[in-house]
């Protein structure tokens, strides 16, 4: 049973990794504190659901459509959020909270408050020994991993990716080197939201969608990003698997309602004891403080 739970946790963690890498990218590049990130995950869920209702395509195919849809939504949202960049931090926090209220209640009005799931299109599941893995979660996991690898390659090996990293390190210096900071900001935001949306579509194979789920996924993404060390993409990856496993284990041994409580406690402890993250020696905490007060 333990092995089964750990494997489910890893599958879940793969999808969580996508969510938190999107958040990490947005925070790293444009320094936007996005409290609506989870709501973009939920938008991804409902996009995948809508595609399923109209065309009957499952999330392991519709993700190809969910990515551009989420990117466009991210692009739009950025036009609003960018108005607070460089302004007071409290307004930055509240513009995304306001956005989150708008998204949640728009979803509530269009889709009602029901929990919605998708019928599985596979009748059997993969069986290794006495461990069962549903093909859908496995596929979702594989897609998530493939996109994650593609994203890391993009960030480290392409010019655009380098430009993003440059802006994240020092936007003035990057601007002097001819990087179009404004464009990079919006691209990074769109890309981050696209990854969140994709993660949402894939999550639909494991969890039900409901309009206010964004709150849970938002905190979840932040927990992972903080645990991994702010702006540390690889750290977030490891933290995502840790949280995935933690969630399935507590869900089974303590009770499904405690799934989040355990990692929330863990989160507060980390913030207090190791604000630089579990896996990092670099003190991003201080650096962030600098940049927002400057």
């Amino acid at each position: 049973m333990l092995l089964q739970l750990i494997i489910s946790g890893i599958l879940l963690g793969g999808v969580y990794a996508l969510t938190s890498m999107g958040l990490s990218l947005v925070f790293g590049v444009s320094k936007i504190i996005n409290f609506a990130h989870g709501d973009f995950v939920v938008i991804g869920m409902y996009s995948a659901l809508s595609i399923y209702y109209v065309t009957g395509l499952g999330p392991y195919i519709s993700w190809i459509l969910v990515i551009p849809i989420s990117f466009a939504i991210g692009w739009l949202a950025f036009q609003l959020i960018k108005k607070t960049i460089g302004g007071e931090e409290i307004n930055q926090i509240f513009i995304t909270i306001g956005l989150s209220m708008v998204i949640q209640n728009l979803l509530l009005m269009t889709f009602k408050s029901d929990y919605r799931t998708m019928k599985s299109s596979f009748s059997s599941s993969l069986e290794i020994g006495n461990i069962y893995i549903s093909y859908e979660s496995l596929l979702a996991f594989l897609i998530a991993v493939a996109v994650t690898i593609a994203f890391l390659w993009f960030l480290n090996r392409t010019d655009l990716g380098r430009a993003m990293r440059a802006v994240s390190q020092d936007k003035d210096a990057a601007s002097l080197m001819g990087v179009k900071v404004e464009l990079i900001n919006v691209l990074a935001f769109g890309l981050g939201i696209a990854m969140a949306g994709l993660a949402g579509g894939l999550l639909l194979t494991m969890y039900a969608a409901y309009p206010t789920a964004g709150g849970v996924y938002n905190l979840l993404a932040w927990v992972i990003v903080v645990l991994g060390g702010l702006g540390q993409v690889e750290g977030a990856l490891a933290a995502a698997f840790l949280i995935g496993i933690c969630e399935t284990l507590t869900g089974f041994y303590i009770g499904p309602d405690f799934r989040q409580v355990v990692y929330y406690l863990f989160f507060i402890a980390i913030l207090i004891i190791r604000p630089q993250g579990l896996f990092s020696g670099i003190r991003m905490h201080k650096k962030v403080k600098h940049e927002t007060t400057a």
Partner: protein, 320 residues
């Protein structure tokens, strides 16, 4: 001194008019609206102490509200302790929680403090559902309708209204006092420039913690009083993070960091909410929160200082 006197006079008139409005409302429907407005004005003002003055944005303030409400209700239902003692005690318990979490998290920088407050509210929500024996679980707790002063249950809505107005007067008095006291100046200095004030010897954490404690106390008292008014509490009303965002939205729309801002916010948005809920609540669930969100976004983008803050700014500009 003259200014203070003048201000005191103005506030006195404001509260007398407020009470008079309730007295002449003479109709439970209108009184209920007034009570809701004043209750949210209290909550927004209390939030403003830590969110507006100390600059620590909490979105988990509902934890203090819920704790206050559960403290007085459980003490009354299980031990028969009168809410006359239970309500202030609710504030004290909320303050104790604030001391505990504040001691640990107040040092966290901006968004991370915010995130930790959300996490704490979520944890309390789950615990309130889980400890069924004490809290009644998801079904919540009912306070029996037996009007008496000992039970703090009243037949007349006007008595509740008076209590809420009294609470608001107390909050306004405390904020006005803080404003003119040393603590107020320190808090303002901290909000303007944390590093500079710290280098001048201001103990930042201590003052932020003070603000959090005062804020939590009033939120807890307000929650306990609100439970007495509704005669019912359940985890999903008193521990939901959406409540905190709503309260914060009132302050932001009205103008954070001012005494009057949160009250202005509540007097504008709460009646709007009641109207939208009664008109469209059945057909368009969530419409009022959608409009709240849109108003909040508009205010942040167009007038970041809020309605009252912008009003004061333009008045000062004209004077010059």
């Amino acid at each position: 001194m003259k200014l203070l006197h003048n201000q005191l006079f103005r506030w006195a008139i404001f509260f007398i008019v407020l009470l008079g409005a309730g007295f002449f409302a003479d109709n439970n429907y209108y009184l209920d609206i007034l009570i809701t407005i004043v209750f949210y004005a209290c909550m927004a003002s209390a939030w403003n102490i830590v969110g507006g003055y100390a600059g620590q944005v909490s979105v988990g303030h509902v934890a203090f509200l819920g704790l206050g409400a559960y403290t007085s209700t459980i003490l009354f239902l299980k031990l028969g302790v009168s809410p006359i003692i239970g309500i202030p005690l609710g504030g004290v318990v909320a303050m104790a929680l604030a001391l505990g979490i504040g001691f640990l998290t107040i040092r966290l920088h901006g968004p991370f403090f915010t995130l930790s407050t959300i996490a704490i509210a979520e944890i309390l929500l789950v615990l309130a559902i889980r400890f069924h024996g004490l809290t009644g679980g998801s079904e919540g707790l009912n306070i029996p309708y037996e009007p008496s002063v000992y039970n703090v249950v009243f037949k007349s809505y006007f008595v509740y209204y008076t209590l809420f107005v009294a609470l608001m007067a107390a909050i306004v008095a405390v904020i006005s006092y803080i404003n003119t006291s040393r603590t107020g100046y320190y808090l303002r200095a901290i909000r303007e420039d944390e590093t500079a004030s710290s280098s001048l010897g201001v103990d930042i954490l201590q003052f932020k913690l003070r603000a959090l404690l005062i804020s939590a106390f009033f939120t807890g008292v307000g929650g306990a009083l609100y439970a007495q008014y509704l005669l019912f509490i359940d985890p999903h009303t008193v521990f939901t993070v959406a409540f905190s965002t709503k309260v914060a939205a009132l302050s932001i729309v009205g103008g954070i960091g001012t005494v009057i801002g949160p009250i202005v916010g509540s007097f504008i948005l709460t009646p709007l909410e009641i109207f939208l809920r009664s008109q469209f609540g059945g057909t368009y669930q969530g419409l009022y929160l959608l409009i709240y969100g849109v108003i909040m976004l508009a205010v942040i983008v167009l007038i970041p200082k809020g309605i009252y803050g912008t009003f004061v700014d333009s008045k000062n500009r004209n004077r010059r």
